[in-house]
Subunit: 389 residues, 2 copies
């Protein structure tokens, strides 16, 4: 068991009718606010007006940057950096899902340096020692960006989609109102649930011994996703389901569950190459990859983790043969993702082609083999891609 | 489900060999440190010397207050306040268990006001708007004071033992090294485990609907205590057991699991009256009370919560009759506390006498009936005390 540092000071207002605190929280950081959002759904559903009203009441000066893309691009980040610098922005307010929040994080960091924001990424990435304060209003339960230090940005010019973690990127305050996710489509709700599930599985499937307490917590979060994601898909305005998914999305990736474990992510580095090239929804890519990766890694040396997962998350009879439990646990994961959530099952269905496998596999391993649950070489990644066809 | 604010910014260094960060963390708050500790066990086991070495390396000026009692007393708090004011202390460093940390919290708050520190307690308690920064090094897994906003202080002159919560009391940084609990006696380890279990049960047994995800987390923490407390008692130097108990002690009461729930504690207000009068260990009082309180509250309206507890924590067969499951869950709780942990089972064994029941029951309800899982009047509290004889 490794030693670790736990440090997640994000303040969260959870529940309905908490936006009355927005102005007072922003005022702690200054008066000049950059409001960032995506394609304008917040204008259609009335959230934009509510936010502007709160900002006006608190006598804040508001600048805006809209149109942040799903799989957000470095060009949007650059635009935000420019506004921050030119307008002397004090605090950034991201209203949206993980894409908007991720892009906003690198605007906040880019505003504090002279170099281009893309230099925060890649093998020779520049340090992120400071960032302007970030406040978020979450409208989609998925990436956990509202309570973590990371973000992922795409550069279509180079064909790269790269992630970065840095403590100054942690939002200072996040508003999590489950009712703001009522208007999320069934499809995006399902993709978000697959993303949450993957964040937990990436940490849970690990060969290193760790804190039993945290394994229990991960199993609890997985049970929560399995129970409530289909309800949220079927009944978009079910508060209990939306609330459980929302708080789980934050805790799945804020770092708490990593305590004492080595980092060992596998599906995320593979998926980032898919969505860098094909611009598909991140959660969908993860859904297609995860069960295949689970099958690929299953053997006598890893089977115990699958047994723990199958018994504690899906309630499989522990008296069965170990390998049988493992296989059933994968089958139940597939059933959840592809039948209960209704996500597409194969690369073929979403148009991802074999001709790109070698290139994407090489890129997934650009920093070396993926040292995950099992070590994956580019050839292993290609083999997993083949299973997804 | 209620809305709530999550705000727990304590930074935690977890694991062995983290004390090298002590100096740098304290220096963030200033140079003049008040080091507080209890009966001197930290001198016998070498921790005192390690701490002093780190403080010297960081060129900190150290003042000391030792001898803080179990069930810490207001007199110790007053002494600490006096040192803080006279010496212009910048930061307090509490080295010990919940008693030392609790007392230190009210020293830190008392240093910022003119009135006596006892005025922070009781029906007309003064506000706690600020406190000097607090850093802790935990040596006993039990109260969770290392990561929460509360503390409990005894006033033997008035026969009161009163708790107080206030945001400024939250430690800024806590060092949790499981090896520092290796020297905790079997008896105190068992009492600490009973305290942790009670913190979870006080929140878990609630008739209000809440976040399923948090119920899963509470069940995971209860399973952790049930699994590892007997191991820690049997093998005091088992790192895995000590680590799981330590991190669970913090998360059992830092406020996370309350999210969305009404506050509904029952056994703690009853127990505080026992240990105010008899000065017994808090966790032991809780261990004796908890199963009797569970029996007292069990009926057709509450049985479902016992079923959830019995099935998910103890693995009782869910196909049994509900009331049968509930009774088994109480029996297994008793078996855990009194057989596996070896704690005393009755008031008689620890010298608590019937003649004090009426007075203690009245005091437990001094602010009105206890609005817990079931509402308890003074007569109910007396009846539960009777069951403990």
């Amino acid at each position: 068991m490794n030693s670790f540092v736990y440090n997640i000071p994000t303040k969260v207002y959870f529940g309905e009718n908490q936006l009355g605190h927005l102005g007072e929280e922003l005022r702690k950081f200054g008066r000049r606010v950059l409001l960032t959002y995506g394609g304008g759904s917040i204008k259609r559903n009335g959230l934009y007006d509510r936010v502007i009203e709160e900002l006006s009441k608190a006598d804040l000066e508001v600048f805006e940057l809209s149109g942040i893309e799903p799989n957000p691009r470095i060009e949007s980040v650059r635009e935000g950096v420019k506004i921050c610098k030119e307008q002397g922005i004090d605090v950034l307010l991201a209203v949206g899902g993980g894409s908007t929040i991720d892009a906003t994080k690198f605007m906040a960091a880019g505003a504090c340096v002279e170099h281009d924001a893309w230099e925060f990424f890649g093998a020779n990435a520049k340090p992120i020692n400071e960032a302007l304060p970030i406040v978020t209003i979450l409208t989609l339960s998925a990436t956990g960006s509202e309570m973590d230090t990371g973000g992922v940005i795409s550069n279509l010019a180079t064909g790269d989609k790269l992630g970065r973690l840095a403590a100054p990127l942690l939002p200072r305050v996040s508003f999590l109102d489950p009712t703001l996710t009522y208007s999320v489509s069934k499809y995006q709700t399902a993709c978000g649930a697959a993303d949450i599930m993957s964040h937990i599985i990436e940490v849970y499937f690990n060969t290193q011994e760790d804190l039993f307490m945290l394994d229990c917590f991960m199993e609890g979060m997985l049970k929560t996703v399995v129970k409530y994601a289909p309800i949220a898909v079927a009944e978009p305005e079910n508060y209990e389901a939306r609330a459980n998914l929302m708080w789980t999305s934050s805790w799945a990736i804020n770092g708490f569950i990593n305590g004492g474990k080595r980092k060992a992510w596998s599906c995320h580095p593979m998926e980032h190459e898919l969505s860098a090239v094909y611009d598909i929804t991140h959660g969908l890519g993860l859904a297609i990859l995860t069960p295949r990766w689970m099958k690929y890694c299953l053997d006598e040396t890893t089977v115990d983790k699958y047994v723990q997962y199958g018994v504690n998350v899906f309630g499989i009879d522990p008296s069965l043969d170990k390998m049988e439990i493992a296989k059933r646990s994968i089958a139940l994961t597939e059933e959840f993702l592809f039948e209960k959530l209704g996500l597409q099952r194969t690369f073929t269905e979403v148009g991802i082609k074999r001709e790109d496998f070698k290139m994407m596999a090489q890129k997934a391993c650009r920093y070396g083999d993926i040292k995950g649950f099992k070590t994956l070489t580019p050839a292993d990644v290609e083999a997993i891609f083949e299973m997804c066809l």
